[in-house]
């Protein structure tokens, strides 16, 4: 999996356009733009850092680089789950910040043509879809395409207060 991703990264920006790495949490399938993805690694020992919001699991040592790890399940307020050998860490690089995202399972790299990407429905209450930027249709499936930057920055202050 790692090899194929790296191979893709070598291509031009254009070849990355419309390509998404999909992963699953519970029943839902999510996608993130391939240009953000650095690599995919298996779960490894995470060093906890105290006093952080729950969804930040800690830091890992990725070949000498210290990278923070975020559990996307907890970030999306889902029930935490034991990590197993299918659990993956997707290392993404967003605005020069490297961060590892813990997901249940990585599926595949998909090309979703622009006409199959639609706006998410407007929710009347809550902030249910603040991380979902677009929705991609693949066959009969629906992929929730994430806004990575929001994942890192949105409403963090509020969340920390909740987490304390």
């Amino acid at each position: 999996m790692e090899n194929s991703t790296e191979f893709l990264l070598e291509g031009e920006e254009d070849t990355q356009k419309g390509r998404f790495l999909t992963f699953s949490l519970d029943k839902e399938s999510y996608g993130i733009e391939i240009k953000h993805v650095t690599e995919i690694i298996g779960i490894q020992e995470i060093t906890e850092i105290p006093e952080l919001p729950q969804y930040v699991k800690g830091i890992i040592n990725l070949r000498g680089k210290i990278i923070p790890i975020m559990d996307v399940r907890i970030r999306f307020k889902k029930e935490p789950r034991e990590y197993n050998d299918r659990t993956c860490v997707i290392v993404v690089d967003i605005k020069n910040i490297s961060i590892g995202l813990v997901v249940d399972r990585v599926s595949e790299v998909l090309t979703i043509p622009e006409q199959d990407i639609v706006e998410p429905p407007q929710m009347n209450k809550g902030h249910g879809n603040r991380y979902v930027r677009k929705i991609g249709k693949v066959g009969s499936d629906v992929k929730l395409l994430l806004d990575c930057e929001k994942l890192l920055t949105d409403d963090e202050l509020e969340d920390i207060r909740v987490g304390m």
Binding site: I49, V56, I59, G64, I66, S98, I99, L152
Partner: protein, 693 residues
């Protein structure tokens, strides 16, 4: 502008070299100003520096800098040649420093890629006027040397290249190339080609350099001779030729009149004749020829010594540092590999020890590369002192001790500003006016001392003045007003009171002066020092002076650390702050009614911090007697940290916590993290932070 010159490495080099030269120049000016006047060697040195800057800036197409430095060079040429009796030294220093500032400013602009150049013409004008006054004032002496004043004007560079074909100076140059460089004729042609930019009135021997390959042989034996007329001064022409590649020897002669030049020109067919005529004709070699040769020698020497130093960009060093850190970890991973456990492998152990030795050496070396002496930072203070003394009308001397002390490059960058601030404070607030000093029976001149010395893994930088000292009551008053008192007044020691001035929003100076008193003084200093893991303390004696001590870590990158374990987590405490570690005895433990746990050690009581409670780590060791207590001390405050066990001491490479986490929250008591030998991550505890929780 010519694109071929604007390539980055050359620009970097130019900026680097010029900055160094300017710093050197500033120092010379300041030392000489103190010694009341410029010594001949200083004049020579300044002349040389200006000359170099002029040359390199002209090469890099920074005309403003080059014109300015040229004017300054002229001035010093005059000083050097005429040795005038009367020089207004302070005025001269002022002008020079103004020039230095201008060049500094320009260099900064070049660095930041800003090309809106300030016009130095005003400064150049004053400099020229100064030179003229100098000359008239020293006229009588100048008259004795008839030639020089007449010749003088030729040293002015023409600010606009005039297209007149009447040139002032006539030169003869004989160029010898290095043996074995081949294609002398082509090289000669290159010179001629370049010369075309300077003059269109030239003539050279042998003539047929392009068509006739044999001319190379002639050049080899007799040298390549050029006769030409130019407006350029001897110096710049000399420099022009010195840039030639493979140049072995250069004879540049300024001809007195153009008789022989014309003569040659007419007779240009006959090589031998012209040489004869030249030999028979009296030619005047300007005095500068010899002088300049000496200068060039010196320059060569200097360049030989600087050749052994190269400048490396900091990011590269950081990268190297990271890699070495990784290598140390990788090495530990190999040598302490669990697969090797229980194996009898003597040869492997031997090789491993060798590897270990080498990696340690590399690590030390990489660390030492980043170490830079404090001297440059300290010497900058001379300038501040001088400017402030002039403005405030005080007499202050700066004493510098231990400037050779080395600290990490990163740290130097961080202490420059605080230091500047402290020196300003000392002069502005600390040192009294001359009248006050005299009336108090103090020596007329105040003294500010900057001292640096090593203390373990820290460097102490001490800024001391012999001024009026801090006003205890005033500080207390102010603190009371701003509600900054954290204790009852009576309980506070003098030192604690003095240290109040480090709190944010504290400035006792009622009147805001140009230099200090905006209320963002000492707290900014202390914050700056804290960001690099240092500390600051203030002490003062009324009418005797104030001492400010900065305690700065030698390096940010590698520290000696004690690894401790709590549950599954691992933490590192900087060894420097550890006083002792011990297993506590039941009878020494005290629990006060508020639930605060304390321990009695040799008759003193210390509070205990349970690390597992603080960071909510699950561990089965919760009884003090099962674990270990590490006593740490920072700034005379002591704390006992309770942990499961000690893992051992090792040098650790400090890494910052990821930016993302730092942005989320500043975790109390954590200053960073490090990688352990087995690849695990250990969190580095910030002792000062823990104590103040």
């Amino acid at each position: 502008m010519s694109d071929q010159y604007s390539n980055e490495p050359m620009l970097d080099m130019f900026v680097f070299e010029t900055t160094q030269l300017i710093e050197q120049l500033e120092q010379i000016i300041l030392t000489n100003e103190k010694g009341s006047c410029f010594t001949p060697s200083a004049i020579n040195e300044i002349f040389r520096i200006m000359h170099t800057i002029k040359g390199s800036s002209a090469m890099m197409m920074f005309t403003d800098i080059s014109v300015l430095s040229h004017t300054m060079e002229d001035l010093f040429y005059y000083l050097r040649e005429e040795k005038p009796n009367y020089i207004d030294c302070s005025k001269l220093s002022d002008f020079l420093l103004e020039g230095v500032d201008y060049i500094k400013g320009e260099i900064d602009k070049i660095k930041s890629g800003d090309d809106t150049a300030n016009n130095p013409s005003e400064l150049i004008k004053t400099l020229k006027e100064f030179l003229v006054t100098l000359k008239t004032e020293n006229n009588s002496i100048a008259l004795n040397k008839v030639n020089s004043p007449v010749k003088k004007p030729q040293y002015y560079i023409r600010q606009e290249k005039s297209i007149t074909t009447i040139y002032n100076n006539i030169y003869k140059a004989i160029i010898y190339f290095e043996e074995g460089c081949e294609m002398e004729n082509i090289r000669a042609y290159t010179i001629i080609h370049n010369l075309k930019d300077i003059t269109d009135d030239y003539y050279f021997l042998p003539e047929d350099i392009i068509d006739n390959d044999n001319s190379a042989e002639v050049i080899r034996q007799q040298g390549f001779q050029i006769y030409f007329k130019a407006d350029h001064a001897y110096d710049s022409m000399h420099e022009f030729f010195m840039q030639t590649i493979f140049l072995r020897e250069l004879d540049l002669i300024q001809l007195e009149n153009d008789n022989e030049y014309k003569h040659l020109y007419e007779k240009k067919q006959s090589n031998i004749d012209s040489i004869n005529i030249l030999q028979n004709n009296p030619i005047k070699i300007p005095e500068i020829h010899n002088m300049n040769n000496a200068g060039m020698d010196k320059e060569k020497q200097a360049s030989v010594t600087t050749q052994s130093i190269i400048s490396v960009s900091i990011p590269k060093l950081d990268k190297l540092m990271d890699l070495v850190g990784e290598m140390v970890i990788a090495e530990a991973m190999v040598i302490q590999n669990p697969d090797l456990k229980g194996l009898e492998i003597n040869n492997f152990q031997k090789a491993a020890r060798q590897l270990n030795k080498i990696t340690n050496e590399i690590q030390d070396l990489v660390m030492s590369i980043r170490m830079v002496p404090l001297s440059a930072t300290f010497f900058k203070m001379h300038r501040i002192l001088r400017d402030m003394c002039k403005k405030l009308g005080k007499e202050v001397e700066l004493e510098i001790i231990g400037e050779e002390t080395e600290v990490d490059k990163n740290i130097i960058e961080h202490i420059s500003d605080p230091l500047m601030h402290l020196v300003r404070n000392a002069i502005d607030h600390g040192i009294e006016t001359t009248e006050d000093r005299v009336s108090m029976d103090k020596s007329k001149t105040g003294t500010v001392t900057i001292e640096a010395r090593n203390a373990g893994s820290d460097v102490l930088v001490i800024i001391k003045d012999d001024g009026r000292g801090l006003d205890r009551d005033k500080i207390l008053n102010k603190a009371r007003k701003s509600g900054l008192l954290y204790k009852r007044e009576e309980e506070m020691s003098d030192k604690e009171i003095y240290n109040l001035i480090l709190l944010p929003g504290f400035s006792t100076k009622e009147v805001v002066s140009e230099y200090s008193g905006r209320g963002v003084g000492m707290d900014v200093v202390s914050k700056n020092i804290e960001t690099i893991g240092g500390s600051i303390s203030v002490d003062s004696v009324t009418n005797k002076g104030t001492t400010i001590t900065l305690k700065i870590p030698l390096t940010l990158a590698i520290i000696d650390g004690m690894n401790i374990k709590v549950g599954k987590s691992c933490y590192t405490i900087p060894t420097i702050s550890i006083k002792e570690s011990f297993s506590p005895k039941e009878k020494d433990l005290i629990l006060d009614p508020d639930g605060n746990e304390m321990i009695m050690v040799r008759g003193k009581c210390y509070s205990i911090l349970r690390l597992h409670k603080l960071y909510k780590v699950s561990t089965h060791i919760t009884k003090f007697t099962d674990g270990i207590i590490i006593m740490v001390e920072q700034e005379e405050k002591t704390l006992c940290i309770f942990a499961d066990e000690l893992l051992g001491q090792q040098q650790v490479v400090v890494k910052a916590l990821p930016e993302y986490i730092q942005k989320l929250k500043r975790v109390r008591g954590l200053s960073g993290c490090t990688l352990l030998g087995d690849g695990r991550i250990s969190l580095i505890l910030d002792v000062a932070g823990l104590i103040n929780i």
